[in-house]
């Protein structure tokens, strides 16, 4: 049973890697130049894609060359994967939790930015002792992002405004707000013209897990703890019962006395807080100086992670590690084989496309009787 559930994601991932490989090979100028010699073109194509993917692996799991001076350094790439996975886990949980309550949170990016702003502000403005400083920064990040997400839920509860539209718009609002903030004296690093905030103080940073050479830090553990928390919330608590009830059939939940507006608002608050915690983990863990691009493409990445993880906490963690690995490895791939990092985006999009259409994968791989699980239920704008 358990294994069968893995077939679809794995097959989708394999398909996406295959299509990505084709793209790498046949956009290569040297390969294209061999048009007249099909056989050597094919072998060249194979080696081009192969070396790109080898670089991807070296950049995400283990690099023998780095291990030569110290064995631990060989795992530098894996540590980078954990660093990349941390915000993905937290934003992915944000989307997954909202999805279980029937809400589609496209706003993880904006909420992430809100959290990053909060953590960064506390981190570089105040002088506080170790631990307390970190906790304070995280708490403010959670408050900012929770409110930013909760506002969406509140608006939906009060006026019926569709959360998809509101969160899309709020992502842009957050982005422009951050850009403005980074032009004010409070946030712009003294002496700089480009949008860059000061680094957060050492007292607020999350400690490294495996010594100072590897960047993996406590943020990853925080993310795992959050995943466990979300699991407990959804499957064991009375709140989670309400969330799932509203997600599965809001009008039946309402008829049985569950307050849908309250659930909508609180789910979006928690979802926002999770995404914002991601922003805090990023700032306090690996990127202590906030830039205008801090939000990256987390809005979308979070959705792909939650989808690949089937909106369960455990699945989200694994999916985030996978995409985190792609991210980390993609950088090495870009540096050593001149394969643009954007390949990772393509692979990510393809994975989700294949996952979302089990029928397609089934027919491609001639699979029968595999577990497809529930795909995202489709709801209209008015629903």
């Amino acid at each position: 049973m358990k294994l069968k559930k893995l077939i679809l994601p794995l097959a989708s991932f394999a398909m996406a890697l295959f299509v990505g490989g084709l793209l790498v090979a046949f956009s290569d100028a040297k390969v294209l130049a061999l048009k007249s010699q099909p056989l050597s073109m094919l072998s060249h194509a194979f080696s081009t894609a192969g070396s790109a993917y080898w670089a991807l692996f070296r950049g995400s799991v283990f690099d023998p060359r780095l291990a030569e001076d110290h064995w631990l350094h060989g795992f530098y790439p894996l540590s980078e994967t954990l660093v990349a996975a941390t915000p993905l886990i937290l934003t992915g949980l944000s989307v997954a939790l909202a999805f279980r309550a029937g809400l589609f949170n496209i706003g993880a990016q904006g909420q992430f930015i809100a959290g990053a702003i909060g953590a960064s502000w506390i981190g570089f403005t105040f002088e506080l002792p170790y631990v307390i400083h970190t906790i304070a920064a995280m708490a403010v990040a959670i408050a900012f992002s929770g409110l930013y997400g909760g506002f969406v839920g509140f608006l939906k509860a009060k006026t019926g405004a569709h959360e998809v539209i509101v969160t899309i718009m709020l992502n842009y609002v957050a982005g422009y707000f951050l850009l403005w903030l980074l032009s004010t004296t409070a946030f712009l690093r003294p002496g700089r013209q480009d949008p860059l905030a000061p680094e957060v103080h050492k007292t607020a940073r999350l400690p490294h897990l495996f010594g100072s050479d590897l960047r993996a830090n406590l943020g990853f553990i925080v993310a795992l703890a959050a995943a466990a928390g979300v699991w407990w919330l959804l499957n064991r608590s009375t709140w989670g019962f309400k969330f799932r009830a509203v997600g599965a059939n809001a009008s039946a939940a309402r008829t049985a006395g569950i307050s849908v507006p309250r659930v909508t608002t609180s789910v979006m608050f928690i979802a926002g807080a999770l995404a914002g915690l991601g922003g805090a983990a990023q700032i306090l863990g690996s990127e202590p100086a906030m830039t205008a691009g801090v939000g990256g493409s987390f809005g979308f990445d979070a959705i792909t992670v939650a989808l690949l993880g089937r909106a369960t906490p455990l699945g989200t963690v694994f999916a985030a590690l996978l995409f985190g690995g792609l991210r980390a490895g993609g950088l090495t791939m870009q540096a050593s084989t001149e394969t643009p990092l954007d390949l990772v985006l393509v692979i990510q999009a393809l994975v989700v496309l294949f996952i979302a259409a089990p029928a397609l994968i089934k027919s491609l791989f001639r699979l029968k009787n595999i577990e497809t699980g529930e795909t995202m239920a489709s709801k209209g704008w008015n629903g």
């Binding site: 608006l155 643009p340 489709s378 704008w381």
Partner: protein, 424 residues
């Protein structure tokens, strides 16, 4: 008016009432903020000439405080007219237009105190910035009126921009580039149609994935081919403006509307055609029927999914054509993620315009104007940070969907996959 009468207001009347109240609040805000709060007035210079018109209008110089005061009062007159029309149970469109114009002028006088405003150029630029928004919003209308949510407008625009750019460059023929653009957009839309209609996948997820797919692909190819081999892959050109005889010589209006590139004229055709076809033609009736109540449409023999499929693909073609404007209409070459979220503003315009073609065009024009004004004010210096001007379309959309300006309702079956005999 007694309370019982208020209760019986019809939906459009309630909307008008809220419109009148909103305008009144805004108008008063303008009067206080633009006309009374500034301590001193400074001269504002308006320039209307771009060079080719028959009559060269003179510059108009006005004190900022006087101007703001005058236009604020005019905007309030517009509100009063709207109130009268509302009482007479008539449409308030004309009064709203007066209000909108006067309010904006009042804002301009305030924000450009002591500065120079190239008025005609400002509007011309606004129209140009609106072009991709309008094409994108039309793609939204075509797709969503038939019941398929189109979040992939961004991707369709980008695909059109990319393909038209490289084809124009490879063939050194802009017309071939223009020709290929609708096909590029339609290809993305075809994916949307297959996955949304055939496999019934959530259309919001799907639209997002397709956007990322196009962004990823174009970025990848841009870095791998377009940058290293720029002279062959990314050296297209732009269409020169075509001046329509006589019309282009009218002061103010001529340079704005009738001295534009072919893509803008195509846009006029697309908008008018969609507006007429949607409400007056058999195709339009069927499109709206499958978007509102697909089961009912099926019961009179309409093949719901075929209608939807066709509409989605046509929508993609329209967006793709709009994408060509980025390369062939404006810049001449492709650059990374050059659509920069315009697809989402187009979506916002669609919603703000209540899923109607003309409403969406109006919203797109307003958004385009805000965008261009922001650019102008950033250069001349302004009391409002430009980032807040850039936020305006998004905040306006949130306000719209929150029902503060009347309930915005999507087509009833928008986003819901249809399966035959699904009721059982």
């Amino acid at each position: 008016m007694s309370t019982s009468e208020i209760r019986t207001l019809s939906a459009p009347e309630r909307r008008r009432k809220r419109g009148v109240i909103t305008m009144a609040v805004l108008g008063l805000f303008g009067l206080i903020f633009f006309a009374f709060l500034p301590k001193t007035g400074q001269p504002v210079t308006y320039n209307f000439v771009l060079g080719n018109e028959w009559v060269l209008m003179k510059e108009w110089i006005i004190n900022s405080k006087t101007g703001s005061l005058g236009f604020s009062l005019l905007s309030l007159a517009g509100v009063a007219l709207a109130a009268v029309q509302f009482r007479a149970r008539k449409t308030i469109r004309f009064a709203s237009a007066i209000f909108g114009f006067a309010f904006l002028m009042s804002f301009l006088c305030w924000s450009a105190a002591g500065k120079f405003i190239p008025f005609t150029g400002l509007l011309q630029g606004a129209l140009l910035l609106s072009v991709p928004l309008i094409f994108g919003a039309m793609a939204g209308v075509l797709s969503e009126r038939s019941g398929v949510i189109n979040i992939a407008i961004e991707g369709q625009l980008l695909a059109g921009a990319f393909m038209s750019g490289i084809i124009a460059s490879l063939t050194q023929n802009n017309w071939l580039g223009l020709l290929i653009a609708p096909f590029a957009g339609a290809a993305i839309a075809w994916l949307l149609a297959v996955f949304a209609i055939k496999y019934g996948i959530d259309q919001v997820v799907l639209g997002f994935v397709l956007n990322v797919l196009v962004i990823g692909l174009t970025n990848f190819l841009y870095k791998k081919l377009l940058i290293p081999y720029q002279s062959t892959w990314n050296a297209g050109g732009t269409f020169a403006p075509i001046e329509i005889p006589i019309l282009s010589k009218i002061p103010v209006i001529g340079p704005i509307f009738f001295s534009q590139s072919i893509i803008v004229y195509l846009m006029y055709v697309v908008v008018i055609a969609i507006h007429i076809a949607l409400f007056k033609s058999r195709w339009g009736l069927r499109t709206r029927s499958v978007g509102e109540h697909p089961t009912a449409a099926e019961s009179v023999g309409i093949n719901v999914n075929r209608v939807r499929f066709r509409n989605v693909v046509i929508a993609g073609a329209v967006a793709g054509l709009g994408g060509a404007f980025f390369t062939l209409g404006a810049v001449g070459s492709f650059s990374k993620e050059m659509t920069a979220g315009k697809g989402f503003i187009a979506l916002a315009a669609l919603i703000f315009g209540r899923w109607s073609p003309l409403g969406a065009v109006a919203a797109a024009l307003i958004f385009g104007f805000a965008d261009n004004l922001q650019g102008l004010l950033t250069i001349t210096g302004t009391p409002i940070p430009s980032e807040f001007m850039l936020m305006a379309p998004y905040i306006a959309t949130i306000i719209a969907v929150s029902g503060f300006v009347g309930k915005v309702r999507a087509p009833a079956a928008d986003g819901i996959p249809y399966k035959r005999g699904g009721a059982h």
